[in-house]
């Protein structure tokens, strides 16, 4: 296992390390405490105090918020009450589905066929960060890109169990089932 000064990991995360040094880090055995340093870096860069359990994207984190585990944006916006429901259900969505709206991104011979594909943008209602983009045909449910098994991770892989447990299950369809059509 390698060990790195947390300052160097900060520089790595921010893309400030020389490429040759990055390659050395890639070649070397990984540092065992990376997750802790990573979370520490993220935690000090947000204005809220809830404990980050796992960064999901540059903007989204699973956090411990009281008795809840929720997906929270770096701006503070919370997406629902349970990280096991796809956070996209609480996002703003804008769909490019005709040539005129696609023109904003793709023009001329670079434009996909809107009869075949939708370009979906998911944004944070709090800060307007574009969180994910999907290019899928109509009918495709939104991707639930990553549902972590947090309890197994913290208990079995890290050896630091979380204070309470959740079943590892996708609860998105349960949430949808409650929606009025």
């Amino acid at each position: 296992m390698s060990e790195y000064n947390p300052h160097e990991i900060r520089r790595l995360v921010d893309g400030e390390l020389p490429w040759l040094r990055v390659q050395e880090i890639m070649r070397s055995p990984k540092d065992a405490n990376r997750l802790l340093v990573w979370i520490e870096i993220q935690q000090e860069r947000v204005d809220w105090n809830e404990r980050i359990l796992l960064p999901l994207t540059p903007a989204l984190f699973i956090v411990e918020s009281g008795a809840r585990r929720v997906v929270k944006c770096r701006c503070g916006f919370e997406f629902g009450d349970d990280y096991r429901v796809n956070w996209k259900l609480e996002a703003l969505i804008y769909v490019h589905e005709d040539r005129e709206s696609l023109d904003r991104i793709y023009r001329g011979i670079d434009q996909p066929d809107p009869d075949w594909i939708q370009l979906r943008e998911y944004s944070c209602p709090g800060c307007g960060t574009q969180l994910e983009v999907e290019a899928v045909p109509r009918g495709c449910p939104p991707d639930f890109e990553f549902l972590p098994d947090l309890d197994t991770f913290y208990r079995d892989w890290l050896g630091t169990p979380l204070p309470d447990t959740r079943t590892f299950e996708d609860k998105t369809l349960s949430e949808i089932a409650r929606w009025e059509v």
Partner: protein
Amino acid sequence: MQLKDELAKSDRLLTETGHMFGLKTLARKEADPGNYEALWQILLNVCGMAWTVGCKVSSSPVAVEGGDALWSIHLPTGEAVATSRGIVSHPGLLSLLIRKYIESDYESMPGFHPGDIFENNDPHFGGIHSPDFQTVIPIHFEGELIAWAASVSHVMDAGSVLPGAISFMNPDSFSDGIPFTMERVGENDRFYPWYAKRIQSRTRIPELVIGDSRGRLAGCLTIRDRLMEVVEKFGADFFKEAMREYIEDSRRYAVTRVRTQTIPGRIRKSAFKDLAMKGKRVIMPDQDADYLMNLNQEITIDADARIRFSLRGASAWVPFGENITPDAIVSALLNGFSHMVGFDMFNWGTVAAWDLETPPEGSWANPYPANYFAASGLAWAPAVLWLSSLYESLGRLYYARGFVEEVAAGGATTMVGEFAGENQYGVYTIGQTLEQASNGSPARAIGDGENGAWSIYTPNADFGNAEITEFFYPILYLGRNLEPDSGGFGKFRGGLGHTVVWMVKNTPGIEYICGCAGLRSKIIPNHGMFGAYPTPPDRPSYARGTNVKALIDARKPLVHERGDPEDPTLARNIEAEDLQTDVIAPFATGDILKEHDLIIQPVSGSQAFGDPIERDPENVREDLERSWTRERLARDVYGVVAHRDEDDHWTVDAGATEKARAEIRQERKKRGVPFKNWWRAERKRVEASEGMSSAVTNMWRTSMELTPEYGQELRAFWKLPDDFCFETKEAEK
């Protein structure tokens, strides 16, 4: 003990102990680490030497110039131990092929003798697609079979229904071309005479095909000769035991890496591939249709760090050469896994670290249960796009765990230009260039992707020398340039691909086939990682019956690049009887291109990472300076306001950029609707199939039929009736 019994024993030991060959300890490694490492390096070098020799002995330019081949060393029971560089998608298939020889009791009949040459290209029995010829030879030491040498190379014509080796048009396996079905094709280190005669009568360019056979054999013999020296030096016992340990070592490495760098849970990534063929030149009536293929990927990682890959939801097989077998997907996964997870010791051991759920029967990924004669002329096409999702999927896990240096966004696409006709020497030829083996690379979490330096199917990303390509084919390069905005748009953009401009020269005429080896032309990839935009679609251009000769004589501008997508240079500068600037690929027009006709073939970049308006404006400025992006995109997508001065240098207006980005954020909040509101309206459209092309509804119908639980989930998401299904639609136009 017969090899068949050894194979059964190995399988049993893996199941019982979780270790390859039951190796709970790596005794040779522990007792003699120096020689263990030395032998490993020697095996790699032997494979590398075989690659060098084999490629140079080969005849076709893709092997000679592009190195589009591979050599490997295997255990007696087939498991790959070490491989050369080259097309690393194949060691898994070669392993499974040797296994099939053993399971079919070839050891008894015809037997495995010193000097035997076995060959295969049949997907029904361990091949991938007919142009990938596989050669294996047994290696004996003091009368005992101690290893196999294996090779694969991609020949330029397999005698398929249309000329070439990117045989997407094949309607069924009968049109896939010349079959070598697990055959012994030679003995005493020589091919049988009838082997060459069959190639002579059943392929269009036999001298190149046979030349490549000699290349594969030459590399395999190089391995055999060198291994004799190696075994003498290290001793047979050390050699045999270390060979097994390398495989278990690799398995352990892969498992450890998953456990220390990823997170247990479930990753889902939708992906699709279009095959729009309605109204185009096709072979059979049922090919006159548009298809969309569902390439869904689901990965689960359990508490023991075991990975399970699934293609649930894969749509039905297609009447084109774009179906692949589960065996070939295993091999493709080995390739992707080597890129993203385990690359210290690349061999079969990695396969034992994961499971592939049997793909839906009757799908493009497992066609034979529904149609045993499904074509697989270019089986890689859907597979490499499915594999592209693996980069992003694993990249998300590495990101979550903080290993930002390992993150990669999704990969590029693969479109191939092929020519068939009389060349400048008066000889009929078929060929392809290796432009597609030089995509832009995926963006990382800490920087842009590299330009023109990556390929999903080979680490040996190399498009070959233009001059050598001109030597083989009747074309001249008018341009070979990085294509602006050809990578995805994001905080870190995808590496750029490049575009070539070819002028037909010194031929009575050639046919140009724009082949699909994993392209998207109607749609774009579903790779909007963390808010980035995916790469544009693949759109080639060509011009037949041009005024280029007159332009040359008048010393007027020609075409050296694709140009602005809204105003392509081809249309601006060239007049032609048939000028196509926006063709939906793939296609084989059948039209003959003659002297001074033009082809513009773009090669895609890879995918991007993060919200584009978080890109450092200085990086956008640098891209503008290098003509790697355009002002419109800088403004509309990146929110960067920049001005060009009289000396063609760009300056960013920091205040205006900040304002523009703030406005984009506000616009997103204003025009975005709460998901639930969109869902309510959208579900009605889905139920009514509103605005859904036949390709889309037909894809969903077969995906839902072939994986019923996938269908149930889709219905539940949109709250559709339990018996809802999309109706079969005829293609539009």
